[in-house]
Structure formats: C-alpha cells, structure tokens
C-alpha cells in the first residue's frame, strides 16, 4: 500500500467525497453557485451540487459530491499511540502493589455543568465498559467517583483530601467548546493549588476530544471515544507506578 492515498468512491484514486451544509441565503441559482464555490474552496473539482433545498426564506441546504484534489500522506498522520503496555487487572494490581506499595488513589467526575456521567462511570464503576470491569474492580485502586456537575474547587479539595494520584474528568458537552474551556480551567486550578511535584496526574476524556491537545489544554492525557477501563488503568500504572521510574521525576508527588 502506498503512503499517499486519496478518497475512494468506486475507483482507485478517484478522490470522491460527499459533503452537506447549509448557507444562510435564499435558494436560487446564485445559492447553488455559492455552494459550488464553497465546495471548490474545499478542494472539490469538479463539484456537483446534487441537491439544494430551501429551508424557509433565508437558508438553503446542499448536498455536494465531487473529487477532491488533496492527497492524504499517511507518513504525516500523527497518532497518539499507546506508549505504555496494556496490562490485565492482575498485572495492574501487582504493579501497584510491588512498585507503589499503597493503593493508587483516583478521583473522578464530570466538571462544570456537564451531567453526562455514563462515560466516566464506564471507566470507574465496577460495571465497566465493553466487557472490561471499571477501576473500582481493581483491588489496588481506590476510586472516588464524585459524579456529575462537580465544581472545580470541590474537585481540588477532594483531590487534596484523598491525596489523589490521578484526577479523571469527563466532558461530553462540547457546544461552544465548553469542554475545552472547562479543561483549561481545570488544569489552571490544579496548577495553582498544587506544587508541580505534588500535582495529581490530570486525565480528561470524552467523545469529542482531540487526543493531541493534551499539552495545549494543560493536562497529562486525553482519552477519546471508545476508551476502555483497562487502557486507563494501564496508563495510570505506567505514569504513577512505572517499571523503571521516569528519567526526570516530572510532576509525581513523593509517596
């Protein structure tokens, strides 16, 4: 397989894609031209405006098909690959027991006004997700699931009280980038509340996060849709109870 590919409609290299959008203009010939203009700006050539429908007097909906000229260079794809070994519950427990020599403490919840707990529960509750048990199931992990709509000050407070090793936060509502704002606030608050060396690991998750943005948002790791508890547990072990301690101590608290 080549490293450079194009979208595939029914023939290798045809570059075909489907597109739909609304323009805030009435439906007429000009509107169809405007739709074609946008499609061309997106790289479709030719762009076939195959459907246009007035939605009231001020908006028009379009469906466009066409070939894009862009090439996808697979060598340039950046993927947040799993950079830690995937462990089973037994291995996780054993690692914590032998290396950390105390339970690993996790505090979790949905911050801000977000009340979508199904995702964080999938990671934390015994019931788990996709056939894997959640972190509560791990004998060596102590889980404090604070549930929905936890305020950031409360979260900081509980992390302090419980001497949390890691704080796990879920954000599902993304309208107006709510998840990004909240995550930035979260990391700012923890940076303010803890000296770098004692700050718990900050892990956020939710279906619409871009996993590359961890650094930009000031957190240690982002988990996207379909995450399983085992991945999270393995990551926590890797960061908090690593096989060989990390070269630079980073921001791990003294245990």
């Amino acid at each position: 397989m080549s490293d450079v590919v194009r979208p595939y409609g029914d023939t290798t290299g045809d570059g075909m894609v489907q597109l739909s959008f609304t323009l805030p203009i009435p439906h007429d010939k000009r509107a169809e031209g405007a739709a074609a203009q946008l499609a061309r700006k997106m790289g479709l050539d030719p762009a076939m405006v195959v459907h246009a429908k007035a939605m009231g007097p001020d908006f028009t909906f379009f469906v466009v098909y066409g070939a894009v000229s862009h090439l996808v260079d697979l060598r340039e794809v950046e993927v947040v690959e799993r950079d830690y070994p995937l462990l089973g519950p037994k291995e996780v427990n054993a690692a914590i027991k032998t290396r950390l020599r105390r339970p690993l403490v996790v505090v979790g919840g949905c911050i801000g006004t977000d009340a979508h707990t199904v995702g964080i529960d999938a990671i934390l509750n015994i019931k788990g997700f996709a056939g894997e048990k959640g972190l509560e199931y791990y004998a060596e992990i102590e889980v404090h699931n604070l549930g929905a709509q936890v305020s950031i000050p409360d979260l900081v407070e509980r992390s302090r009280q419980t001497r949390a090793d890691a704080v796990l936060v879920s954000q599902v509502v993304t309208q107006k980038d709510a998840h990004l704002h909240n995550t930035r606030e979260l990391s700012a608050a923890f940076r303010e509340a803890f000296p770098a060396s004692r700050r718990p690991l900050l892990v956020v998750g939710g279906p619409r996060f871009d996993e590359h943005q961890a650094t930009a948002l000031g957190v240690d790791r982002i988990f996207g849709k379909g995450t399983t508890p085992g991945e999270v547990a393995s990551y926590l072990v890797h960061r908090i109870a690593p096989a060989t301690p990390p070269a630079s101590p980073e921001h791990r608290r003294a245990s």
Binding site: S20, F21, T22, K53, M55, G56, D58, F59, F61, G112, T113, D114, A115, V118, G147, A148, Q149, V173, T174, Q175, K176, A178, P207
Partner: protein
C-alpha cells in the same frame, strides 16, 4: 375500512392487573403526597411572590424574589410561608412588592409573622395580589383555547422539535423555520447547569451552553415569535420548556404567565439525574403541577431518561412504574388525562433481534395503560452514533413506531444525535423523515394486528407483570414512605438518592400550623380572587 382495536385489546391485557398496578401506584405515592403537603420550599415561596407580580433582579442578576425570600427566611423563617410576613410588611410600609424587595435586600425592612387582624389583612391582600397572577394565567389559557379553536389542532402525533443554540436570538428564527417546516411543538432546551441554579435568571439571554436559559423574557420573546408564526401558518404552534431543577415551581409559574403550552415535568427526574433532594423535588413538583393544571399546560414526564443509562429491555418495566407514579402524582395535583404527556422512548439496542417489535410492544403497552394521555414518544439517543445515515434510518423506524402505536407527541429524532446539538438542517431533514413516514405509512396502523398470543402482546404483558412486581416490592417496605426508601436504595436508574441528601435540601421547610400560601389556596379552590 375496518375498525382498529384498542391497544389494550390488541395486547389482551388483564384489566385486573391494570387495576392492581394503579392501586399500587397510589399506595406507594400516597405517603409522598402527605410529606409534600407538610413542607414548603424556597422556590414555592418565590413562585408565590412571582404570581403576585414580583419580577426583576438586582444588579448582580439575583432576582428580587430570591432576595426577598432570603431576607424573610433569615428574619422569621419560612415555616409560615412568605405571604404573611411580606404582605404584613407592605401593609405597614405602603410599599409595593418590588420596592419592598429592594428595601429588604438593602436591609431596611423588618419582617414579622403577623397574627390576628394583621394576619387577616395580610392574608387578604396577599390572596388578592396572587389572584392577579392566576387571572393572567387563566387569560392565557383562554387565549390558547381561542387560538386553537380558530386554527384547529394538528393530527397526532404532534411533531415536537427542539432548538438549543444557547442564544434566544438564534433560537427564534430556527424555531420559526422549524414551525414552517411542520413542527407542532417547539421546545427550547435549557442551558446545562440551569437546573442547579437556585434562582431563575433574568432577561433575554445569549450565552447558554447546549441550550438557552429559561427566563421569563426568553419565554415571552419566543411565545410572541411563535404567535406570529402561528398566525402566518394558521396553525397554533405550541411552546415547551422545562419545569424541573431547583426552580421548578417558579418556572412553572412563569410558563403559565407567558402562555407556554407544555412543560417537561417529572416526579423523579431531578432526584435521579440532578441529585436534587427527594423531598424538595416532591414539594416543588406538587406545586408546579397544580399550576400546570390551572394553566392548561401539558406536562411531559421523563421516563425516557432511564433508558439512556439503563438497558431499554431490562429496564422496560421501570418506565411503566414511573409512568404510573407520574400519573398518580399528576392527578393528585389536579392534572387531567389530556395533560399527561407520559414519557417513553425508542432505546432498545438496534442490534437485538426483533428490536423494532420490542419497541412496538413497549409503546403499545404505554398506549394501552394510558389510553387518554398524549404519550410523549422519545427518539433513539443512546444507540445513535456518528453514522448519521444509520441515525436517519433509526429515526425513521422510531417515527413508524410512533404512527403504528398512536403516540401523542413525537419528539423528532436528529441524525446528529451523537454529534452536536441539532443544526437547522438536521431539523429540516428530520421533519422530512416524519412527513414521509406519516404520509406514506401512517395508515399502516390499520394493517398492524399483533396477535394476542404473538411476540408483541406477550412481551407487553411480561413488562406489565414486572412493573407490578416492582411496585409490590416497593410497597412491601414497612417504612412511612416506601417510595423514598426505594429511591434511596437505587431502584430507579441505578441511582441511590437518600431522602436526607441531595441538592436543595436546605431550601425545604416543614410547614408550621399557621402556614399560609394563597397560591396553594387559589389552586385548590380553583378561585380567581
């Protein structure tokens, strides 16, 4: 054309079992009503003031109703209600309600619980002031009835669409566009987090997340815009919002005052999904339902929510139990059958064999149990994915189930359910879906005859059986409010909510013997003065 058998006939439900289910709901709900009657809450008291015309907020946006109730509570407590101290103070100072609130907030009013003649005066004046609010609500109800009389009511299921931009000024054109494309009901979704605010924001708002704040002004703006559209379309377009969360009674009141037509209002949603204290919820709920009854507002209950966390097959009977409880509480508060938009949803895992027939079974069961209620039928959400084509398909079968089982209110599903709050085009496409299904296959109901011994009827009877069992298990508790015990034990939606915890508990007050609330009186009497 042959007559369509009723849902109960189609399912061959045993009338004795149905009666038993209702009796159990009453048995379980009764003690909770007694508790609700014995308490008031800050929001009930604020709602009373709002009925009397108190509006507006201080510079920080805290409503005068909150400021006033807080001061009264600080000074004399709320166990006698806010009416006596407030109208007593007004009688003494001659201030009007707003001025009094402002002065109280500034710390320059001293309240007392009046007695004897002063109490009678205060009570009389309070009643007369609050009655004005009810007269406005009554007028709104008559206006609605007149408009519906003029335009006629749309056929069921009514097409119910949401707008959720967070900005009332984006919501309005989107709502109007949706109405033009065929929506019978527009719901303005609330901003995340509003349910946990212990005050109702003021004014027109543009900054909600995934929804728009419920405010009196937003209600007014949207109702006025939809009135315009109704006129244009010669079809009365209903408006919906949420009487839930910590301000349920006030929002119910504002809905009545601004002629909203439907309100989301569930007896347990706030408890389970917002961790609001159970007592607070039941007290607030009883007040708000009485207001809805008066205002001719249809409530929508929230059983669909259970199925977003629990499995729709395993937990099907919890939906039925909740519907029975919602019905009991609603009727106790004065609502009529036609006002009961009992909720349920199309949430069976589409990968399950016969999933569509399971949906039909569940939907027919609700139809059979509540033949006169305009059931609110909610679309697939949990099993929606980013595959918008598949989403459009599931929504079509949801629409078909709605037609085949005679649902009353069809909350139109969006293909982008798992992606974003609905776009303008999502709504347009969704309505096209509804229209096609209804026009092409709506009458298929005549050809749909589940056999009494068939898969569908058998499943429906099984769910009813499980519901009765669950109610029996709850009723078997020997405590003085078995339902509260059950809620505390995690019976519903797997959430444990003890009666002595949860948000808003500090806003609950046990009534003293002299407690007075003219709103409750006017509601109970159906009086206008």
């Amino acid at each position: 054309m042959s007559r369509i058998p009723t849902a109960a006939q189609q399912l061959a439900l045993d009338p004795a079992t149905v009666r038993r289910a209702r009796a159990l709901a009453r048995k379980v709900g009764g003690p909770v009503v007694r508790i609700a009657k014995a308490h008031t809450t800050v929001s009930v008291e604020r709602a009373t003031l709002r009925l009397a015309g108190l509006a507006g907020a201080d510079v920080e946006g805290i409503p005068w109703a909150n400021r006033l109730v807080d001061v009264v509570r600080d000074q004399v407590g709320l166990e006698h209600g806010v009416a006596l101290p407030v109208w007593d103070a007004m009688a003494r100072s001659g201030d009007d309600l707003t001025v009094l609130a402002q002065k109280a907030a500034a710390g320059s009013v001293t309240f007392r619980v009046p007695d004897a003649g002063a109490a009678r005066t205060a009570a009389r004046r309070a009643r007369s002031a609050v009655a004005q609010g009810f007269r406005r609500i009554d007028r709104n109800r008559r206006t609605r009835e007149k408009l519906i009389g003029r335009y006629g009511d749309p056929p069921t299921p009514w097409v119910y669409l949401i707008v959720a931009t967070g900005d009332i000024y984006e919501d309005i054109p989107q709502a109007q566009a949706a109405a033009r494309e065929g929506a019978d009901v527009i719901a303005v979704i609330r901003s995340t987090g509003q349910s946990l605010l212990d005050y109702v924001p003021e004014g027109a708002t543009r900054e909600g997340y995934a929804g728009t704040y419920a405010t009196q002004e937003n209600f007014r703006l949207m109702r006025a815009a939809l009135d315009d559209t109704s006129k244009e379309l010669r079809r009365y377009v209903r408006l919906t919002n949420y009487a839930s969360g910590l301000c349920m009674p006030e929002i119910a009141t504002l809905a009545g005052l601004e002629r909203l037509d439907m309100m989301l209002n569930d007896s347990m949603y706030g408890i389970l999904f917002r961790d609001i204290n159970p007592i607070r919820t039941f007290v607030d709920q009883r007040f708000s339902r009485a207001v809805h009854a008066r205002a001719g507002i249809i409530i929508n209950t929230g059983e669909d929510n259970y199925l977003t966390t629990a499995d729709a097959v395993e937990a099907a009977h919890t939906v039925t139990v909740s519907q029975l409880l919602n019905e009991y509480f609603a009727k106790e508060a004065g609502l009529a059958d036609w006002q009961l938009g009992l909720g349920h949803a199309f949430e069976v895992d589409p990968e399950l064999p016969d999933s569509f027939r399971l949906e039909l079974a569940h939907a027919l069961l609700a139809r059979a149990l509540f033949p006169d209620a305009p059931l609110k039928w909610m679309p697939p959400t949990k099993h929606m994915t980013g595959d918008v084509f598949r989403g459009y398909l599931l929504d079509a079968f949801f629409n078909l189930a709605g037609e085949l089982t005679g649902q009353g209110i069809l909350l139109v599903g969006m293909m982008t359910e798992a992606v974003v709050t609905p776009w303008l085009s999502d709504r347009d496409l969704a309505l096209q879906n509804v229209r096609y299904v209804r026009n092409a296959a709506g009458n298929l109901r005549e050809d749909f005859r589940p056999a009494p011994d068939g898969f569908i009827a058998t499943r429906a009877r099984a769910v009813l059986g499980e519901a009765v069992e669950l109610l029996e298990r709850i009723a078997a508790d020997r405590g003085n409010a078995p339902l509260l015990t059950a809620i505390g034990d995690g019976t519903f939606g797997l959430m444990k909510r003890p009666a002595d915890a949860g948000r808003g508990l500090d806003g609950v007050v046990r009534k003293a013997p002299g407690y007075l609330n003219p709103a409750l009186d006017l509601l109970a009497e159906g009086a206008t003065r």
